[in-house]
Amino acid sequence: MASTKTEKPPVVIDVQNVKKKFRVYSDKGATLKERALFRKRRAHSDHWVLKGISFQIRKGEAVGLVGENGCGKSTTLKLLTKILYPDSGTITMKGRISSLIELGAGFHPDMTGRENIYTNASIFGLSKAEIDKRLEGIIAFSELGSYIDNPVRTYSSGMYMRLAFAVAINVDADILLIDEILAVGDASYQAKCLNKLREIKRQGTTIVIVSHALGQIEQFCERSIWIESGEIREQGSPFDVHQKYLRYLNDRENHLLSDSADEESSTEDRSSGDDQGKGGSDSRGSKESGETADDGMRWGSKDMYFTSIHIENREGTTTTVLESGQPFKIVMNYKVDRPCEEPAFGIGIIRNDGLQCYGTNTVIENIPLQAESLGDSGTVVVDITNNTLIEGEYDLDVAIHKPDGFAYDYYRACLRFTVFSVIKDAGVMRLEHEWHIAEE
């Protein structure tokens, strides 16, 4: 076996069937009196946070752990850090481990930045000589300049975090564990941190990241592990895993929605079949879910409203995965309860980091719409002849509104879709272009 896989780097993190339970006390008495007097109250139940997970990570790999809050991903990271011990199963780690879980551990406010570098770095297990060697690099990375010899209590929170991050990132660990930390300082400093992480990765450091920022994981990791209720649900390329994960979240969310507000606006309609949405949903649910803006994502008077929304690719199949440079259609079915004056349809495409990539509506484009011509129900299709979005994840907003903005039905992030591309270009959108290179 070894001979056939000689090129593969060695396994540095080996997690075998790890289980972890927490005791949940209904009422935890921590004092003697409580323990002695209320023995019965101290009944506890076991909550299995991890129900047996196994995975291996090879040297130099970058792996993201994703999942909902409470799924066990942070517990997994804590087990890797050896802050927690498994109840059964084994974890084998090879090499020096550094964790970007707590930044600025052990900082003393009255001591200078320089002194605190020593304290903080020593907590990561660095010897005095090793810290001496890294000191200049850390100070440079923190961008603190002469402030480094001022007491830490005089620092702004941004300076504090920069110093803390600079130490943690310069530990030169073999394995780096990161928990949602890439929110340090301003945008430019964040970019610097990401660059530094890439450099560290290039040097062969194994990295495990827990994050809700799926985009960051996609940029950074070769593999994603999706943990769901203490078990590994899926692992593989971040792109594929996140796709499934998002769909799962979406489905479940809609499930919850439809439990409370019935199937009127359920995604099942849109994603699983394009036809049943049209005829299937009758008008009855519209009022109650209409006036109470369900979850801040959808609001409006609901005199007119969407019954289903989906995206079709060039073959006409309903999908949420699109390719750059190909045509696609946004298909929206609507229903009219009461005649509306001057209705307008609009769409918006928002990248998953909140950047609005494109937005338009029938008013802006001077497309006249008369209430009479819309009938009781119908279909609006936005035919996009060339998808110039670049690779990424996007939310689709759709709306029926008056020209002054009054919403009949405004549906924020009704669909999340993914665009992939063979060309890995950068920016917001692709400009139509050709290259002409000629020699003189």
Binding site: K82, I101, I123, G125
Partner: protein
């Protein structure tokens, strides 16, 4: 257990910086700063001298020195017992977030308290020289040995109490009372010779009794401690250290779940 000791050794620079932080951070914002380390024991000595030579006249000669020689080492142990008990809880943000051998925290705490005691011992040493105590290389060697023994013993105790305290917070308060009782059970304010003969064997079960006796032999009487006294102290120190490591090793696994 050997692995634990090896792990702790690898984190010696962490111990060093935690000790540093503790010692220097303590007086950082005060005007006199580090001088307080010496001022506090000197003032203590002054008070005892005044009280015991004017008000509570004792028939023990040079009572101030007699008391002081034992009181400083006792203060060290007592602070390990009371303040040391909460050392893990005090550092829970570290324990919950970062891996390092958990033993590092009690080791750093005891070491900082020990270094503090060493500074006080400098004062004691000078005072004893002025009071006419003679030191020979052998007694100095014994003094060094006794200090090491007390350190090991205090570390063993701290390992036990700080790990238990995580699970059971009342311990801090119980230990406050216990420490006071223990002080009176130990020949600090009185000489061991006043203890009734039939109680003596029980009395010597107290590890601090032999340690105190050894300090007093060296720094008050200027004599070499009896080999039995030293032997008992060494034995106790090692036993407590091993028990401490075992208890701590068992309890540390759930620290972060409980805190």
């Amino acid at each position: 257990m050997l692995q634990t000791i090896k792990d702790v050794w690898e984190y010696r620079s962490m111990i060093q910086s935690l000790v540093n932080r503790d010692l220097r951070g303590r007086y950082k914002a005060s005007v006199l700063g580090f001088l307080w380390t010496f001022i506090v024991p000197l003032c203590q000595l002054l008070v005892y001298t005044v009280v015991f030579s004017i008000i509570l006249k004792s028939n023990i000669e040079r009572y101030y020195l007699f008391l002081f020689v034992a009181l400083i080492p006792w203060n060290f142990l007592s602070s390990c017992l009371t303040a040391g008990a909460s050392c893990i809880i005090q550092q829970q943000s570290l324990v919950n977030k970062i891996y390092f051998p958990r033993e590092v925290i009690p080791v750093s705490f005891v070491t900082a308290a020990f270094v503090n005691m060493l500074y006080c011992e400098i004062v004691v040493f000078i005072v004893s020289l002025f009071s006419g105590v003679h030191y020979t290389p052998l007694t100095l060697l014994c003094l060094f040995l006794v200090m090491i023994i007390e350190y090991v013993f205090a570390l063993g105790i701290t390992l036990i109490v700080c790990a238990l305290d995580v699970y059971f917070r009342d311990l801090e308060h119980i230990l406050g009372i216990l420490s006071m009782a223990w002080m009176f059970m130990t020949p600090i304010m009185y000489d061991i010779s006043v203890v009734p003969e039939q109680l003596l064997p029980v009395f010597l079960l107290n590890p601090m009794a032999s340690i105190m006796q050894a300090y007093r032999d060296i720094m008050y009487s200027g004599a070499v401690p009896h080999i039995n006294t030293l032997g008992a102290a060494v034995l106790m120190g090692i036993v407590f250290m091993i028990v401490g490591l075992l208890v701590f090793g068992k309890l540390k696994r759930r620290f972060s779940e409980v805190m």
